[in-house]
Each structure stands twice: as structure tokens, then as C-alpha cells.
Subunit: 341 residues, 4 copies
Amino acid sequence: MQLGMIGLGRMGSSMVRRLLRRGHECVVYARRAAAVASLQKDGAIGAASLQEMVSRMPKPCAIWLMLPAASVDQVLGDLAALLDAGDIVIDGGNSHYRDDIRRGTELRARGIHYLDVGTSGGVAGLERGYCLMIGGENDIFEHLRPIFSALAPGVAAATRTPGRKAGAGSAEEGFLHCGPHGAGHFVKMVHNGIEYGVMAAYAEGLNILRNANVGKRTHEHDAETTPLRDPECYQYEMDLPEITEVWRRGSVIGSWLLDLTAQALQQDPELATYGGRVSDSGEGRWTIQAAIDEAVPVHVLSAALYERFTSRGQADFSNQVLSAMRHEFGGHVEKTGEGLK
Amino acid sequence: MQLGMIGLGRMGSSMVRRLLRRGHECVVYARRAAAVASLQKDGAIGAASLQEMVSRMPKPCAIWLMLPAASVDQVLGDLAALLDAGDIVIDGGNSHYRDDIRRGTELRARGIHYLDVGTSGGVAGLERGYCLMIGGENDIFEHLRPIFSALAPGVAAATRTPGRKAGAGSAEEGFLHCGPHGAGHFVKMVHNGIEYGVMAAYAEGLNILRNANVGKRTHEHDAETTPLRDPECYQYEMDLPEITEVWRRGSVIGSWLLDLTAQALQQDPELATYGGRVSDSGEGRWTIQAAIDEAVPVHVLSAALYERFTSRGQADFSNQVLSAMRHEFGGHVEKTGEGLK
Amino acid sequence: MQLGMIGLGRMGSSMVRRLLRRGHECVVYARRAAAVASLQKDGAIGAASLQEMVSRMPKPCAIWLMLPAASVDQVLGDLAALLDAGDIVIDGGNSHYRDDIRRGTELRARGIHYLDVGTSGGVAGLERGYCLMIGGENDIFEHLRPIFSALAPGVAAATRTPGRKAGAGSAEEGFLHCGPHGAGHFVKMVHNGIEYGVMAAYAEGLNILRNANVGKRTHEHDAETTPLRDPECYQYEMDLPEITEVWRRGSVIGSWLLDLTAQALQQDPELATYGGRVSDSGEGRWTIQAAIDEAVPVHVLSAALYERFTSRGQADFSNQVLSAMRHEFGGHVEKTGEGLK
Amino acid sequence: MQLGMIGLGRMGSSMVRRLLRRGHECVVYARRAAAVASLQKDGAIGAASLQEMVSRMPKPCAIWLMLPAASVDQVLGDLAALLDAGDIVIDGGNSHYRDDIRRGTELRARGIHYLDVGTSGGVAGLERGYCLMIGGENDIFEHLRPIFSALAPGVAAATRTPGRKAGAGSAEEGFLHCGPHGAGHFVKMVHNGIEYGVMAAYAEGLNILRNANVGKRTHEHDAETTPLRDPECYQYEMDLPEITEVWRRGSVIGSWLLDLTAQALQQDPELATYGGRVSDSGEGRWTIQAAIDEAVPVHVLSAALYERFTSRGQADFSNQVLSAMRHEFGGHVEKTGEGLK
């Protein structure tokens, strides 16, 4: 089957390579000519412009966008002007599902089909395959099934869920038609919200283990700082690379994210190359906003998001307010170091 | 090798079976004679009392306790009276690591060795193997290595972590000597703290998906209830069994807990047999208390614990206070149903 | 000065009475004729329709809406059709600030002025006065200053903030022009977000005090429930009405909300008339959504909101997921009562 | 009445001055001779040692300790050696209530009485009076009532709670016998836990207001950063000193902490002299640990505590773990600035 791909960053280029390996034909375009050239070496058909791309594809064509969320609307506008009724556009990036609803409606008015595809898998996806969460018309989903099937990991990637019948739907292959426009990105949004929460759970736990030696550190005694009551209970020097490794086998918290954590700690137990400014790319925020609209309590998912905000200095003013209050009522002057150290 | 096992509940009996299958000899005791008899059929040597158990084992003997945390001290006291210098006691249950420090010191005074072994694996452990986090003297750990090796899942249970050399320690087999007395249960404690957080992340996310149809439900408009601003954006009927299934392949949030969630939803998409009163068995609480002693922020792990408390009605009075305040300042009268429904 | 008031619920009718007492003239309208009649007795001019109201007021007129947020747009539409360039509409309800921005723009196109006024004070406002947070054009704010001044508590309601010059702005009287359209409701929104957080802090703390006798309660010991380690430390029977009373004098946490809490507990220490289903009226939600847009971490404000959601059963499915997971990995069966009781 | 005071820091010296002003006699001691000398000028009787202090007081004597929590046990040990049966020791500092239980028991064995007095009021207490939460034997409490009455703010400090009878207990004066040993510090502990929560609610809310101009700031668009969807809704320049001032009159969130916040912002709207490293002095931590022992959910109080930990860099490793994970699965490289700025 033939697919056009616009956007050849980490994700887009790997997806093209996976499709090529599985016998599909890809026409590719990106602003950076080098990215196009690199994929041409691997067998893709390069295009120097949107126009050239469309002209190289027989109608009806199917074109996949793998772009930063902020660029989709502009590129989609340019592209749609070149398309005809019956053509298909797929947005595989990190769009807000509400944009999908809007785009689906706008494009439908012109006879163009639109699918939103939440794509998970990261840089490992080329080998592992991608988990695809898909929204839009069902017959368009069915039409593109060979593409989704090639991108997805396939049935063998996990053991069969007990009670599940073989061949009962595509979820077992790693792709799923979740519902109408936006449903794909909605599911992917919540997926990422969960991802933030799971990541934070590991990170907080490892921080506790790392500080299990706090009883060895000296600390001053004053009215501002409470002494540690049982320093003899915090004398452990925990080996984080070994601990994350042992958890990978047989424990209840085994996961791919744990595998990756063990891998990072194996390379550097101190993680000293990371400063700890943690980005968030939109879905985590939208997850919370959806939860609030639905009146669903999400203590954990919110906390995980806010920890990322805080890691980037966004709580600073809040903390200054606290220090100011403490100074006003108690005459407390800020300390310059962590009291317990 | 020979091991005594006291406590033959879900965990203890499965561990005995796994050891028997791998050629070890087990002397078993439990208060319930039926539990002992059942394991005798599988090849274990049964004992009708602690005394009989000890008398059947050549010295120095090694005896593993797999008991509710609240019973350990009493059984251990009875058992220790029967042991001699050089004997070994292993606590594989859910003890507080501080109890291990105390017990290790007390037993050492009498020449008895003590290991604390945090054990993860659940009911699947018989087949999958157990992840073992071990604290105590290193030479005692080495002495019991064959037992740990038989209980653990083994190297093949996961792919090798990139950068890790083959044979570099036992973690790769699924067991680890974490440090002196208490270190094993400390690591297991944090493991469970993480487990609570990871579970809550999935649970909250699935609750958002389940309520993605909130825009279809009617709701009244009054000064107490804000209307949903964009009901057209919440018209999705999400298929949770299929969504959890698709996430199992290729996604960033794949995990064993997700596998189990997919399995439960496969059996009953409504989970109607569960009332949602969630227990917590100690480690989650101790994790937070340790974090606070260490001054480590654990927003996510705490929230996960508190959600369990709340599921059991423990926030009721707090909520009554809120309603009372609202009534005092605003004349607000409690509503009898969720406003958005 | 003359003011029209539409909406004569708890808030609207008290505000009219306060204005009448201070010598202003009020033309009032509400759907319920009884509400109009009641205020007529107190000196207001009643109107049986929007049309009658507008016809009774010399131009340019100023009309205040005190309506449920969900009703504002419709009434405003009906009203605006009756107004002329130069007339003023004030929305004093709980509107989303984004609606103010939209309405301000729409009405400006027709020469009609619009102010948004976040109003705090509750049922006590008739006597205590109302705190007014105002958005819109500055000269319209200045024009209505006599109205705001009459509604607000006045300078004497609190001691002068040290360092603040007398007469330096209206904030000291209890009303403030916060900025352009929406600024008033934005500030009120955050005010309510803070209110939720402050209320939750008291409620949680009182719940801890109430359970300070947990060591007296018996509890069973099993693998599902951790025993309380130090029951002798939880033997207190705390007298909540007296404790909240003592905090009212000299403590750091004195506040009006504390006064009200003491009052409610004075009436009924058990708060038995409250079921603990806590409503939320919009601003708490919008506060979190604004914080997320701004990337501002709001752990406390979010938690307070989610506790309200949970009080209304909105976490039930999430808890069922947790129970299902626990059953899958550990064979845990739900307990029917709180283990610690 | 005569009282000895040991510890003449901010709190102790002001309390002595308040007692002297109200006609009580104070014998004072502190390690710093200058602190003693300063109070001698105000009419106190100075002592150069514990021994001298005790020798200057007729038996039975009552001595109040106002010391950092970490110093109490040592000073109390030295002091108790000088006391006789019938003497009274009061600990007015920030002790853990469990220490009170222990000390009360130890001292009782020697006939010495012990009261624990949680003291709130801060540097303003000299003028405003102190809120006193008292634990220990009731007759000893009654014996010292004149001292407590002099330190407390008195009935006039707040309006009478509706429904409360005049003269119905001391709470209305600002002091309360809360229960047996430890009850005073238990109530003070929870008081401080609430204080942290209330403070955090204001701080988070003010941070949202401060960032209400985020739509004016430029930001780059890439796959790591989600664009702000509605920058036109975040164009406000909020005047925090005026907003906190207006909230002081008539609003639901009026409080002494708000008064102090308005005062601090009045002095410096940017709070630029504060770095935002927020201390915590023990009670906040113990509050959470008590809540967990009681299985009481305290999302808000915990979050407030953790925000303080985080303000002191204690989440850094946790954040490094997150960045490492993101790099492993997504090839994400940390950004050096906040994406939204």
C-alpha cells in the first residue's frame, strides 16, 4: 500500500522505515531536505514540496502528518488545498482531540477524510512497533488497516490475555479503532496522563531509596528544623541500578518504563547528566482538563503533572509567598541549606 | 537444600511448591492442619508443631516465616526458643523494616541469624517466580543462595539490560542482597509504595475514559452546579477492555499490572463484582512515613494511599465539615445527586 | 444612585436590601413574583418583566444580573435587546471570565458597557458587606463607584495594613477594579479556588483530631491489614467545638471560615445532619484549568477540588479498578469494613 | 503568680514580657546572658544557671521551657535533677506529642508534674496574646490558669460564636485543656498541619494570579512544548497587593494569614527578598504521620508539606529520573528554559 508521510523527525522517519521494511511504498516530505534524502536511501520516494508529494501519489491518496502539534493546522491547510474529495489525511502527532473534532468536520465538508492516530512507542518503535489509537470513520480505518498492521507490534508482542478469543479484534495486534473523530487522540491523551503518573511513582520511590542514608548526615538543631527522630533507621546505601534490575523479574511493578529506568541507571547510577527540568508536551495537561470537565478525581495524574511544572521553577513565586508569610508571623528568616543535610 | 516453612497461606504454600519442584526439601508447618496435609501430598515433610518441625531438621537449620505481619513477633518468639546458635530465620512476609532491625539485633545476641526478605510476585509467583529483596548478613545470604535462586524467576524472565554484563550479580536472576537488617523490607516497602502509585495512575486514567460520555448525560442548571461548557466534546463510548488490550503492545505504559487490568476487564468490562473498598497492607503507609523522615516529596505515592483510605469511607467526616462550612457561609444545602449527571 | 437588579435569590435580594438601606434606588425583577413583592415591601421598585424594568429606568441605566452562571447568556440576550448605547450591564454572578471577555466584546459593538463583578460574602453579606472584584472599562467602574462603595464592607471592616497609606485606592473599602473584561471574575475564580483549599485544610485537620482515639478501637490482624503500631499514642477524645473555639483567638489559623466552623460544631459536634456530598460551583474547576494553562503547580487547590468530586462517588470506578487489580495479582478479596476499626 | 522561663528566644522573651505586664513574676534563664539581662530591664528576675533559677523560686515551683524541640530532653533532664515532688514543668515549645507522653510518665514516677502547651501566636503574640493548647493533669492545668489567662488573648479578641453561652469554658479566652499528656501538642501539631495547608492555598492562588499574563509571553513551538491554546485569555496584569487587600474585607477567605500576606506584598509586591526555600519545623510532618496511622486521607496537608520539601531541592533526584526515562523512551533532551516563556 502507498502512504505519504509529512514530517520526518524521530518518529516520522522511523515509521517510514518500518513501513518500507514491510513492503509498503512511502512518499516522504519534510522541510529539511536532508531528512528526505536520508529516507530516499532507504527506499522512500522523496518529494521537495507538498505539491510534488501529492502529484506523485495516485488518487485517492493517504497522507500521514507526523508534526509538532503547533504546526499541524498550517500544514494541513496547505495540504488540503491540494487534495480532492476521497483523499485521506492522518494526523499521527500529539494533537488535542478537540482539534481533531474541528478538523474532521471542516475536511468532511470538502469530502476529505480524516483520521486521528495517537501513536505511542518512542524511539524504540522502529523495532518494537507502535501502539496506535485511532479515531474517525470506520471504513477509512478499515481501508488503512494494512498500514496500521505494519506499524503495530503484532500479536506476538505479548502473551494472550486469558479469556480473550484469538482474532477478536485488532487490539491484540496493537492498533484499535477507538471511536469517531478525536477518539484516538483522546485515548492517547489519557495514555500519556497515565504515563506521567507511572513515571512519577517510580521517580518518587527511587528518591526515597536514594535518601535511605539520611541518618548518616549531620544536621543542626534549632527551632526551624526538627531533628530526625530515628537516625539509626536510615543508614542504608541503596544500589539503585541493582534494585531496579531485580524488580524487572517477578515483581508486581515490572514494566517497560522500569526496564528503561534500569537501563539509564546502569549507564549512570547518579543520573548526573540530567538536570531535572522535565518537559510536558500537552497531553498530560489536557488529561487533567478532561478529568475536571468530567468531575473525575485525578489526584495522582495531577500531582505528576505539577511535579514537572515545579521542576522548571514554576512554583518559585508560591514558595516566596510562603517564606514571606513565615517571616511576617514568626519572624522566620529563610535558611540557606536543607536543614536535614 | 532443606528449608522449613511456617505459614502456608497463598504465598507460603506456592513458594513451597516451587522449591519442591526444583528439588529442594521442605519441612512445613501451619496452624491449619489441612494446609500442611495438602503440601505433604506434593512432597513436603509435614510438622504438627514448631517443636516437631525443628526436631525434623538437622542443625544448623533455616526456617522461613510467611505470616501476617502482626503474627511474626509471637511466632518468632516461640520459634527462637527452640533454635540454637547458628540457625537461621528468614522473614519473608510484610514486616516493617524497623522490626527487622530490632529482631536482627535481638537474635544476634543469641547467635541466631536473621534475614528479611521482601517477596513480590503474588499468586502468579508459583509459575513466574518471586522477586526477592533481601536484608541481613552477607554470608547468610550467600549460604541460602540456592533457595533464593530456586524461588526467583531467573535470568530468562526478562531481556538483558543494555550495558549490563552477564553474570554481574544476582539481581539479573530476580533476587538481591540489598544491605544489612531491614534493607530487604525497606526496598520491598518502597516497591509497594510505587505499586500503589502505578495502580492509581491506571485507575484514574480508566475512570477518565469511562466518563468520556459525560456530555450525553443531562444535567440541571442552578447556582450550585456549573454546566459542562462543551458537551459535544464528551460523546465517546470507550471500550475499556479493548483499550487496555491495545496498550499492552508497543505503548510506553505496558506493564504486568496493565496485563492484569486487561484481564480483569476482559472478564467483566463493568467490574461490577468489585465494590471498590481498597485495602492497604502497611507498606504503602510506611513508605510515606519514611519519605517524610527523609524530607522527600511524594505527592503521587501519598495520593495513591489516601485514595485507598477514602475508598473505605475515611474522608466522610472531612466532607461533612465542608458541607457544614458551605451551609454556614452560603446557605448551601447539600444536593442528593451528582450535579453533572 | 439607581440600579436595576435581575435575579433575587439569596445573594441578589440581600444586595438590594443593603443598597436600599444606604439610600440607593433599586428596580428589581425576578421570575418569581414573590421575590419581587418581598423586596417591594422593603422599598424597591418592582418590575414584572425585563421590559417594564428598563422602561422604569432613565437612560443611561445600569442593570446588575445576579443569576446562576448557566442562565446569564439567555437573560443577557433578552435584556440587551432592550438596551441602548451607553447603558451598563453588570454580571455579579459566578460567570467564567472567558464569557465576560466574549460578552464585553459583543456588547461593546453595540455601545453597551459591561462590567464583571466577582462577589464574595455569602449570606452574611447583607450585614458584613460584599467583597467586590471588578473587571471592565475604568470609567464605567468609576461611574458606579457609589454602588460598589455601598455594597462593600468599608474601611472599618479591618485594621489598616501596616505601610499602607490612607485613601490609597478602593481595595481598602472592599472593592477593586482588577483590570479589563474578565479580570473581576478571574480574581473571584482564584479566590474560590483558594477557598476550596483553605476549607479542605481545616476539614482534613479536624478529621485527624476526630480519629485521635483510633488506638481504642479493636482491629483484626490478617495479611490484608497492618496493625496500628502504637495504639497507646491514639487514646485522645478530642472536643472539636472547643478546639475550633480556642483557635479563634491568637492562633495563626484564625479566619472567618474557622469562625463558621466553630459555629457549626457548636450547634452539632457530630455534624450529623450533613451527609458529606460536597458540591462545587465552577470556579474551583476553572481555577485548576487556568493554572494548567499557565503551567502553575497547584497541588493543594486540585486536591481540594478532587476531594469534592470523590465525596459525590466520582472515584468509585477508579476504586473498582484497584480492587480488580489486587484480586488479579494477589488473590485479594475485598474486605467489608475498615480494617482499623 | 510566679513562673520560671527557660529559653528566651523570640517566643520565650515575648511571653515573659506579656506576663510581667499583667502582674506576674518571672524568673528567667537562657544560655545567652544578654537575653537574660534584657528581660531584667523589663522587670524579670534573672538567673545565671538552672540551679540559681530553682533556688530563687519557692516550692512548689512552676517552670516553663520555651526551647527548640531538639534541646528539650537535655535541659529537662538537667532541670528535673533540681526539682522536687510537687514541682511543675511546662513544655511550651514544638515537641512531638509522643515525647510528652514519655516525659509525663517519667516525671510522674518522681512526683513531678508535666504539662505540654502548644503555643501559637508568633511574634505578634506579645500584643495579640497566645493561643494555648494544653495537655496533662487537669488539676495542674487549673492551678496554672492565671498564667494561661494572662498569656491568652482573652474573650474580647473575637466575637462570641452564635449559640455559645458566656463563660462556658476557657476556650473562649484562648486557652484549652485538651486532654491528658500529649493532647496539647497533638492539637498544636494538627493546628500547624492546617496552617501549612492554608498557607499553601493562598500561595498557589497568588501564583496563578501572577501568571495571568502568560499569554503575553512568547513561546517557541516544537514537539516538546504544547502551545497555549488561548493566549488572548491570559493578558491580565494582576496587582497582588491590591487584590490581597480587597480580600481582607467581606470575602469568604479573610484570615490573619491573609492580613500578613497583604502586609508583605504591600512592602514588596515582588517579594524579591525571599528566595523561596521554605522550612518546616516538625509538626507538619508529624501531622501526616498521625493521619496515616489513623488512615485519614490528607491530600491537602501532605501536598503543602511536600511543596516545602521541594522548595529546598529535595525533588531533584526524582526529576532527574523523569528526565532519564524521557530520554530513554523518547530521545527527549532536556530543555534549558520553561517552554511557555
